[in-house]
Subunit: 383 residues, 2 copies
Amino acid sequence: MVRCIHCGEVHAITRSGIVRGKQRYYCKDCKLYFILKEEATVTPARPHMTTIVDIAKALCISKSTVSRALHEHSDINEQTRNDVLDMARKLDYQPNLLAQSLVKSKSNNIGIIVPEFLTYFFPTIIMAAQEVATKAGYNVIICQSQESYKIEKANAHVLLSNRVDGVLISMSCQTKNFEHFRTFEKHGIPVVFFNRVCEEIDSSKVYVDDYKGSFLAVEHLIKSGYKNIAHIGGPLSLQLTYNRLNGYRAALKKYGLPSGKDQVIHCDLSKKGAINAAETLLSKRRNRPDAVFCVNDPVAIQLIMVARQKKIPVPRELGVVGFSDDPMAEIIDPGLTTIQQPVSVIGREAMELLLRSIQTEGKAQPIVKSLKPKLVIRGSSVR
Amino acid sequence: MVRCIHCGEVHAITRSGIVRGKQRYYCKDCKLYFILKEEATVTPARPHMTTIVDIAKALCISKSTVSRALHEHSDINEQTRNDVLDMARKLDYQPNLLAQSLVKSKSNNIGIIVPEFLTYFFPTIIMAAQEVATKAGYNVIICQSQESYKIEKANAHVLLSNRVDGVLISMSCQTKNFEHFRTFEKHGIPVVFFNRVCEEIDSSKVYVDDYKGSFLAVEHLIKSGYKNIAHIGGPLSLQLTYNRLNGYRAALKKYGLPSGKDQVIHCDLSKKGAINAAETLLSKRRNRPDAVFCVNDPVAIQLIMVARQKKIPVPRELGVVGFSDDPMAEIIDPGLTTIQQPVSVIGREAMELLLRSIQTEGKAQPIVKSLKPKLVIRGSSVR
DNA sequence: GTGAAAGCGCTAACAT
DNA sequence: ATGTTAGCGCTTTCAC
């Protein structure tokens, strides 16, 4: 009883001549000629994926030859190669990347750790990064830390166990200990930080010049005639919080405006946190700000929503500027003035730096890229 | 010259007694006792990740014992197990999932194919699905088809080569050929469709009752007094397009309103497509609709933007209802009335069905879940 | 130009 | 309770 090496069926098999002294068979169903090896342990159950051994058996050659043919290895007979390629197609061969990774100690997987991917910013970066990775033959494993140090650590382990070749990271805002990042480097796995970078680790980084961006934003508010400008900042664990805060302060200083300490509120970046901060700022009886520069667009949008609810007209009594140029900024009325970040560029450049590190023998010289922000003026800040 | 089996260094090594007749060493740096095997091929370069063999050597036991200890296998000496666990921690052991997957023919990876993940809808589903997967010990590989059949097919190959244990799919709107989906089933890899399901494939599916949702939406418009209700529908390749269209028609019919054929426009779901459709509808000289039911929220929002530009007041002269309850619906002014889908539930249920299929021997009985939509009334449809 | 054999890190019979 | 062996699918010397 001879089974087809492809479909495993027995009913459609006929003999079809002798090749190299061996009986050749033909499966009518699969339209496939094949030869069984001497002790041919015949094919297993259905859901077996074709391997190079299947191809080798079908062609009565060795699996090394098949492997070589599949990879355009120099020394290979043209005819043999074509045979192998044909058979591979016929048997619907898909290389087992797991096996390949194991023997090459290279998974062709790249990990990305982000705090979340709900708010346009990270998805856009991921898309851009993934595009670059895919082109270079890499796969991407996306992990969300959900702004939690614990989850971020767990993510790092998952990526390590999956033997990723490199990692892109934007830190959670809870992270204060960086051992899990060092573990990567300890094992020679390059890491590139983006946006929420880690000062303490000497690796490549890509981010936007937050200081400059904030400065532009606040300067614009001042030039629009606002005098009492507040700031809703991000969590104090994030470097960008300080950079944006400093830009805000520098602009106030340059134009001789006071920056009373109470005009700065920090919030975690959740919706609730943003609403709380906005409420606090807009409920003030004395010294209510006439403008607010917000650490990012989602926060700015919540601020506008709160103002709307309190019947405080934007921009007449309240100027607002955000950061990032979220698509929402165009939708909301009035349009939200904001600092545009080259979001896709961040993702692309970060991935390119990472790929370069991966391809470099030994530790590559870290490269730090600071991208230029741009002021986009809409209705929320011009009266 | 003896090297530490952990750090590979030689300078911090001292002898430390004889154990089971063998010389024991101690590394001051790593605070680690260890014994070398007879022919001890000493440790390789730095970026070598610890394997069970390293642990076995360090403890002078066999790697099977290590494997067993690591997996709480029944028959294992308590003491041995603790030793192994300690050593694993000491050597910072991370199991190689690739090797594990290879031998078990089970990758613990699950693929997700979505058209995109920029617009809240898919990211939310992915998050929910990922959460369920992670809890069950599965990893998730996310692929975007970018609404392209070709890319979707490529995605399928990538997932196949990565030997995923199952796949969650929401089809691209270009997809008319389904062989790449069948390939999964042919290899015993279960598939669950969600949201954009494939009629032709007999597998589990999760979606929202689109017909019912549209019916609710249009009924609401009618009850609000709108008489000439148009519809911007989705691409004709998607089943949900027909379902939503039919719901729209059924509501018109039930309330005795005419549904002139020209009051239905289909668009791909891109921003540009939406704007074009909106322009067409709102530029009509005769018979301009007084309300529009849109296939989803992003389209509805573009419609409102166009109306804003044309100074057509919403909701007074134009009622608008969307579908999905995108966060933007709350932000835009007036608020967008919409049909809420239980987005997270879709992701969760789809993943649960998939995990069940994976754990079932043989092909599981397909389960189809239709979830209930809900009307959320905001300002855009009430005058 | 091709085959045989070793080995990537791990699990799972099969011995003992 | 532990060691020995084979093998997952693949690449890569090393022979011939």
